[in-house]
Amino acid sequence: MVSTSGRTESPLAGTAVGTQPRRASRAWFRRWAGKEWVLFLLFILPNFFFLAMFTYWPLWENVKMSLQQTDLLAFKSEPKYVGFDNYQWLFDNRTFRLVVKNTVIFIGASVGFTLLFGLLIALLLNQKLRFRTGVRALVFAPTLLSGAAIGIVWAYIFDPRFGLLAQILDWFSIPSPHWLDRPEWALPAIIIVYVWKNLGFASVIFLAGLQGIPKDLYDAAKVDGAGAWWRFKSVTLPMLSPISFFLMVTSVLSTFQAFDIQQVMTKGGPAFATTTLVYYVYEQSFGQGANFGRAAAAAIILFIAMLVVTAIQMGYTEKKVHYDG
């Protein structure tokens, strides 16, 4: 039995103790583990061990690697320190600049449409309509599903000759584009899939936000003679702004990490049209013509981009806390 102070006798401790060695080991255990700081260290040890092993140390290794030139053929030889050459190479490289552009478009469009449609669906689900809990459950379902499996299903949907989308476009006499084979269509196709997958999460969060808005605000607006649109603009939107901001930041961060859907659907192609930063890191690490130094540099650029987004969020939240206080 572990007790907080180490000296107070637990009422149960005496009954279980039988033989001499057991008592000794128990006493030892109590003396050490009974000390709160020892227990604290014991409790945080597993988590900190794995974080140190597989998060912090590799991050440091990654920084070092990004400043080195690695020759795959002479893997065992001492790596050469090259300063910021890898970064310089990336920024001078046309493909990498395309990758950065893809990432910005991909994140901007995915997050933008997800939030917009998510809000619309939330407003719909906030009405007193029958079946709305069922629809809420359905909308949320894609969030749970494996991106790899979803990517495959959508590859079939996008099939320009026999796919679902070809059929729907055909009703409007629009010929289906060759979605995944054309550089100009591949990225929009991937964005459609991500929006479809993440809509549910955004709408459920927005819905929670909507339900948290005090009713009397609407009543007050009604008394002032505000119409539906005006109420939406002057009550709903401002009240939702903290949650929208939160959703935007978390969506941006998670979209930075998106990988499985493009890996399954397009393998970053055609002609790098769907290669985003994460995909580029993967290709430079494990693909053909891999270059560890450049891969590490690209990973650090990805890390810094995410850090900046997080810092913006923290700055904003700090300010908000300030105003509240």
Binding site: W37, L41, N47, E61, M306
Partner: protein, 290 residues
């Protein structure tokens, strides 16, 4: 045009609302329906345009063929092992760490907690290469063995064993527990282990289950790291396995491929149908409370 009466307005709004619900249902539901109907189609039905919505002669053999084309049985076992150990480790690490930060005194505790939170900013994708090199190379020097750990369960599971998010979420949950119950336990002479298992965990069950659920879904769906660190069919989880089926069948045999994706998606969907309320509340808890 005459102005609509309030009643007419309401009716119009309701009709619009139901039309919206129908549209949303179609947008989200049709792709899932397309997967299910595709999994039962013959090759001939797949190659007709306009497509048949409902297969006339359901081909259950597609499922058999998918199961035989790549070793799905093995993929299931691997996914279950990886998910079980991955989730258990995250729960153990997270609960212990959250308890320590919520209830135990220690100098510079806040700085240490920042150290946990900072890990939130380093997703696995960023450190994938050094971690791969660790399991491919460094581990041999550490253990003094010939074999590295590439293509092993421990290499799939261990990098995802810690949790910064879970620690944060559960610590928040633990700290909202009523103080007097915990004080009463202290007066009764209950030690921390007994307080944790007897009082804190039962009372904080919802938040622990919530995190368990998030962890479970993430581990089952994990793709990038298992793709990189596993090499043979014997070790692949089902998410990577279904990709192999896609490659093996090329993009023409959609019926068999859709049957394969059903294998990945359906276990989670079944769980979802029964636990829908808890899962939605759980997966969004981090967002609304954090």
């Amino acid at each position: 045009m005459d102005r609509l009466t309030v009643k007419q307005q309401e009716r119009l709004g309701r009709i619009g609302g139901y039309a919206g619900l129908l549209l949303v249902t179609l947008i989200i539901g049709l792709p899932m329906f397309w997967m299910l109907s595709g999994s039962l189609k013959t090759l001939r039905e797949i190659y007709t345009f306009p497509p048949d919505w409902i297969p006339k002669d359901p081909q259950w053999s597609n499922f058999k063929e998918a199961w035989q084309s790549v070793p799905f049985g093995r993929f299931y076992i691997n996914s279950i092992i990886i998910t079980f150990f991955g989730t258990s480790l995250q729960l153990i690490c997270g609960i212990l760490c959250a308890y320590a930060f919520a209830f135990l005194r220690f100098p510079f505790k806040n700085i240490l907690f920042l150290g946990v939170l900072a890990a939130l900013m380093v997703p696995g994708e960023v450190v994938i290469l050094p971690n791969f090199i660790f399991f491919g190379n460094t581990i041999r020097d550490w253990l003094g063995t010939e074999d590295n750990w590439v293509n092993t369960y421990q290499a799939v599971v261990l990098p995802g064993a810690a949790t910064a998010f879970g620690t944060f979420l559960m610590r928040q949950g633990f700290m909202t527990l009523p103080k007097d119950v915990l004080d009463a336990a202290k007066v009764d002479g209950a030690g921390h282990l007994r307080t944790m298992f007897g009082i804190v965990l039962p009372m904080a069950k919802p938040i622990v289950i919530t995190f368990g659920m998030i962890s479970l879904v993430n581990k089952w769906n994990d793709y990038l790291w298992p793709l990189v660190i596993t090499r043979t069919d014997e070790m692949r989880p089902i998410t990577v396995g279904v990709r192999l089926l896609f490659d093996a069948e090329g993009n023409n045999n959609w019926g068999v491929i859709m049957a394969g994706t059903c294998f990945v998606v359906i276990p989670l969907l079944i769980v979802y149908v029964f636990l829908q309320r808890y899962i939605i509340a759980g997966l969004t808890a981090g967002a609304t409370k954090g």
